[in-house]
Every structure is written in structure tokens, then in C-alpha cells.
């Protein structure tokens, strides 16, 4: 009959006070840096009441900004989906000279400040830029137009889909593709029936991230936009203009719509994670 002198504690478990303190610190940090700003956006947006909020978000230029943001995303995201898929496919499934250079290039937009990417576009396509005179003769305008906004957004959001897919495709190897070919599939059938279904959740995840960034991008877009109200102002740019004009309620109202779009993306992403957690976890080893 031995009496336990001390209560057994699992080696990986800390004492109650330590656990509570750590949890509180974590929650406080998240609340302070993530939750408070989000609440503040909505609180400020509704400060002058629902009617003022509605007026601000249905104002002509605000609607134009929303429409433009959606348009830019609707062009940039599909483009980067296709090119990201192509890039990931070639990097993951083939060996070729210059592969590491290509991988570095894919990552470039992540490592360059978006403002600089915007400036590079001005340097290339602007009136005084390298290609400016040529484009001028052809009657094509890039800078201060929607075309410029789309180009800048495509550049900044290029890595999302490719980055998501490369590790996933590398891990999967080419065995299933070889099996498909030996069973008589054409290259096209192999891609649609085997390669694509195998990466579908990773792809969707990449598209969501790409979309979130495309709608929220500020720096690069700001440089090439020219801030023409109702024409080349996307939502983030419109928010800035309103804010600089001391029109805080309207600025926050538009910002809250942008935040709402981001929240929808997040909810979709969480729903995907919840439903297909294992598959996505396998895709997410970077």
C-alpha cells in the first residue's frame, strides 16, 4: 500500500497556471492585433447609422470601384490559375535546364515590394517608358487604364496558385500519369482525368488565396492606376482617397465591404479545410 506522494502529471503537460497564462496571452494577442481592427472597421462604418452607410456604399464612385475590383479579380485570377497550373506542372513533372531559375522567377513577386512592381510597369509601358512610344502608335494605353490594373494585379498574385501546387505535384510524382498513358489515355485525357483531379483541392485553395490578394492589392495597383475616380479606382484605392478627404465614415463603409469580401473568402477556405482537411493538409507541407 503505497500512497502517491504527488499527483502524476504528463510530461508534455504544464501546470494549470502556466497553461492559463499562455492561453490568455495568445487570445489577447489575437484580439488586439487581429480582431480589434476588424471590429473597428465595421464600427466606424456604421458610426453615422445604417442610412449613411448605405448612402456611402451605393454612391456612384464607390459602386464603380467595387465593380472595377471585381472585374480586375475576374480577369487576373483565371489567368493566374491557368499559368500557375502550367508552371507547377512543368516544374513538378519535368526536368529541364533552367528549372531552378524558373522557380525563383515564380517567387519573384513575393520578394519584390508591390510598389516596385507597379513602378516597373510604368517604366515599361508608361508614356516615357521603353515600350511607351510603340504602344502609343498602336493606340494601346496601359498605364492609368484598367489594362494596367490587370497587369499589375496579375504580376503581384502570380505565385499563389503555382506555389500551392508545386509541392503537391512533386509529392505525387508521375506514376499515376504513366499508368494513365499505358492504359491508352491521350495527354489531354491524362491531364483532365488524373493530374487535375489529384490537385483539385490544392488548386481551389490557391485560387482563393489568389483572389483575396487580387481584390485587396494596393501598392502596385496604386502606382499604375492614376486614381481617376469612377474609372481606375479599385476599392482599396477608393478607400484611401475617401480617407485622405477626411470622409472617414464613407472610407470605412467601403473598407467594410472589402473586409466582407475577404471574410467570405476566409469562410470558404475554412469550409474547404473542414470538409477536405486531410487532402489539403497533404497539399500543405511548405
Amino acid at each position: 500500500m503505497t500512497k502517491p506522494t504527488r499527483k502524476f502529471r504528463y510530461p508534455t503537460k504544464d501546470s494549470a497556471p502556466v497553461r492559463i497564462a499562455l492561453t490568455l496571452a495568445g487570445v489577447a494577442y489575437i484580439a488586439l492585433f487581429l480582431l480589434t481592427p476588424l471590429i473597428a472597421v465595421f464600427a466606424e462604418a456604421l458610426r453615422n447609422g445604417a442610412a449613411a452607410f448605405l448612402a456611402a456604399v451605393t454612391e456612384k464612385d464607390a459602386l464603380a470601384a467595387m465593380w472595377l475590383t471585381l472585374t480586375v479579380a475576374a480577369i487576373a485570377v483565371p489567368l493566374n490559375t491557368i499559368f500557375g497550373l502550367a508552371a507547377a506542372w512543368s516544374v513538378a513533372k519535368f526536368d529541364f535546364w533552367g528549372k531552378s531559375v524558373l522557380i525563383t522567377l515564380i517567387d519573384l513577386p513575393f520578394s519584390v515590394s508591390p510598389v516596385i512592381s507597379g513602378l516597373v510597369y510604368v517604366l515599361l509601358f508608361g508614356a516615357q517608358g521603353y515600350l511607351g512610344p510603340l504602344l502609343d502608335e498602336l493606340g494601346i494605353k496601359v498605364i492609368f487604364t484598367v489594362t494596367g490594373l490587370v497587369l499589375a494585379t496579375v504580376f503581384v498574385t502570380f505565385p499563389f496558385v503555382a506555389r500551392e501546387l508545386i509541392p503537391l505535384m512533386q509529392e505525387q510524382g508521375v506514376a499515376e500519369e504513366e499508368a494513365a498513358l499505358s492504359l491508352g489515355a491521350s495527354g489531354w485525357q491524362m491531364f483532365w482525368r488524373v493530374t487535375l483531379p489529384n490537385v483539385r483541392w490544392g488548386l481551389l485553395y490557391g485560387i482563393l488565396l489568389c483572389n483575396a490578394r487580387a481584390m485587396g492589392e494596393f501598392g502596385a495597383v496604386s502606382v499604375v492606376s492614376g486614381h481617376i475616380r469612377g474609372l481606375t479606382n479599385t476599392m482599396p484605392l477608393h478607400v484611401e482617397i475617401l480617407y485622405n478627404e477626411y470622409n472617414f465614415a464613407a472610407a470605412f463603409a467601403v473598407a467594410s465591404i472589402l473586409a466582407l469580401l475577404a471574410l467570405v473568402t476566409l469562410v470558404l477556405k475554412s469550409a474547404l479545410e473542414w470538409r477536405y482537411g486531410d487532402e489539403i493538409a497533404a497539399a500543405h507541407r511548405h
Partner: protein, 244 residues
């Protein structure tokens, strides 16, 4: 006649994986390619299946030149070492794949495809597993699905890459007898790659022993054991005849 491999060479960079290998596999024969890892046996099998293009040499089946025929047109039933089953498809969809991807004019009616899949499931002792996904199967069952999938396209030859490599000893022995019985029934020209001499000697009609990209000796199991052509063959087989 059947499959004729003539002076095939396959290099990867500066390394020759297969060097001027010639081998004839008779119609309906069960041939084993036996050798240690790195001996070039899998590369040779992949050349036959059209998954690698040889730098030199020719390949023919029944007198038809196969050397430059793409994999998808070779009708070689390839069974991969780790099965390479399509994870996102059910067992039935896996087996039907080769029939589903046929060009428009040659495609079978849905009902006919289903009948064929059902027949293969029965023959492979996979009754009732058609709706499962590969991840819900045991290793031995996956192996049989891979075989069924390869047989569904009515292949001209069966190419097996270490078919029992990933299975435990007990399942290996069972599947071995079962595979031999299947071969005797279908009479398909078969090439099996293995590094297990016991397996090769017990299963195959003839065995080609490979070493460093070359074939050291080809012969019936008993011949190899009684008259090994080189020290390597003698050592690799262990000449006390325990394999038979």
C-alpha cells in the same frame, strides 16, 4: 516470335542503365528479369512498356516494330511497383479507365464496360469492392486492382514491376501462386521484374539474370541453378537449389 528486344541501350546522362541488351520472350511465356537494384531490369521493363525511349536498339512484337510506338498505343498492361492506382477514383472506375479513354469510335457501351469490370472483379477475387477507394484496400487487394486495371485493356503483354515488393511475406506467397494460375489461364506474354531469386525461380518459365545493365544468363530455373554461366549468377542465385 512474340516480343523481340534487340541490342537495346538506355542511358541516363552519362550512365548506361541498360547496355546492348537482347532478349526474346516467346508468346505466352512468363519471363522474369532478376537482378540486384541498379542492374537495369526496371529500366528495361519501362523501355518495353514505352515509358522510356531507348537510345539504341529495336523492339518488336509479333514482327511489328514497337520501338517508336508511344506507350498509349502499345497495349502493354503495366503493373507498377507501388500500384499507381488513381486515388480519386473507385476501384471500378480504376478498372474501367482504360476502356473509358478509348477514342470515340472504339468506345464500348456503358453496360458492356460495367459487365467487363464486374467480371474482372470476380476473377480477381475483389467481389463487392467496386465502390471502394484504393485507400480503403489492403496491399494485396490494391495489387489485384492494379492487375485487373491492366487486364481490362486486353493487353498484348503483361509487364509487372516488382509486383509483390510492397507486400508482407505471407501475402506474397499466396499472390505468387495465384498469379501463376492467372498466367496459365490467360496465356499472356508476361515479363516480371524482381530482385527476389526465390520468387523468380518459383514463378517464371525462364529467368534472365541482369547485372550492371547487361543480361548475364537466360534460362529455365533448373538450368540456371545447375549450370550458372558466371560467378555472378552462381552467387546471386545461391546454387544449393533451395529456390525450387
Amino acid at each position: 516470335m512474340a516480343l523481340k528486344i534487340e541490342r537495346i541501350t538506355k542511358r541516363f546522362g552519362t550512365v548506361s542503365a541498360v547496355r546492348e541488351v537482347s532478349l526474346t520472350v516467346e508468346k505466352g511465356e512468363f519471363m522474369a528479369l532478376l537482378g540486384p537494384s541498379g542492374s537495369g531490369k526496371t529500366t528495361l521493363l519501362r523501355v518495353v512498356g514505352g515509358l522510356e525511349l531507348p537510345e539504341e536498339g529495336t523492339l518488336s512484337f509479333d514482327g511489328h516494330d514497337l520501338t517508336h510506338v508511344p506507350a498509349r498505343e502499345r497495349r502493354a498492361g503495366f503493373v507498377f511497383q507501388h500500384y499507381a492506382l488513381f486515388k480519386h477514383m473507385t476501384v471500378a472506375q480504376n478498372i474501367a479507365f482504360g476502356l473509358d479513354v478509348r477514342p470515340m469510335g472504339k468506345r464500348l457501351a456503358r453496360r458492356e464496360v460495367n459487365q467487363r469490370v464486374e467480371a474482372l472483379l470476380n476473377r480477381m477475387q475483389l467481389e463487392g469492392l467496386g465502390k471502394r477507394y484504393p485507400s480503403q484496400l489492403s496491399g494485396g487487394q490494391r495489387q489485384r486492382v492494379a492487375l485487373a486495371r491492366a487486364l481490362a485493356i486486353e493487353p498484348l503483354m503483361l509487364l509487372l514491376d516488382e509486383p509483390f515488393g510492397a507486400l508482407d511475406a505471407k501475402v506474397r506467397k499466396d499472390l505468387r501462386q495465384w498469379l501463376r494460375a492467372l498466367h496459365d489461364e490467360t496465356k499472356l506474354t508476361t515479363i516480371m521484374v524482381t530482385h527476389d531469386q526465390e520468387e523468380a525461380l518459383a514463378l517464371a518459365d525462364r529467368v534472365a539474370v541482369m547485372n550492371e545493365g547487361r543480361i548475364e544468363q537466360v534460362g529455365r530455373p533448373r538450368e540456371l541453378i545447375e549450370k550458372p554461366a558466371s560467378a555472378f549468377v552462381r552467387e546471386f542465385l545461391g546454387t544449393d537449389g533451395e529456390g525450387i
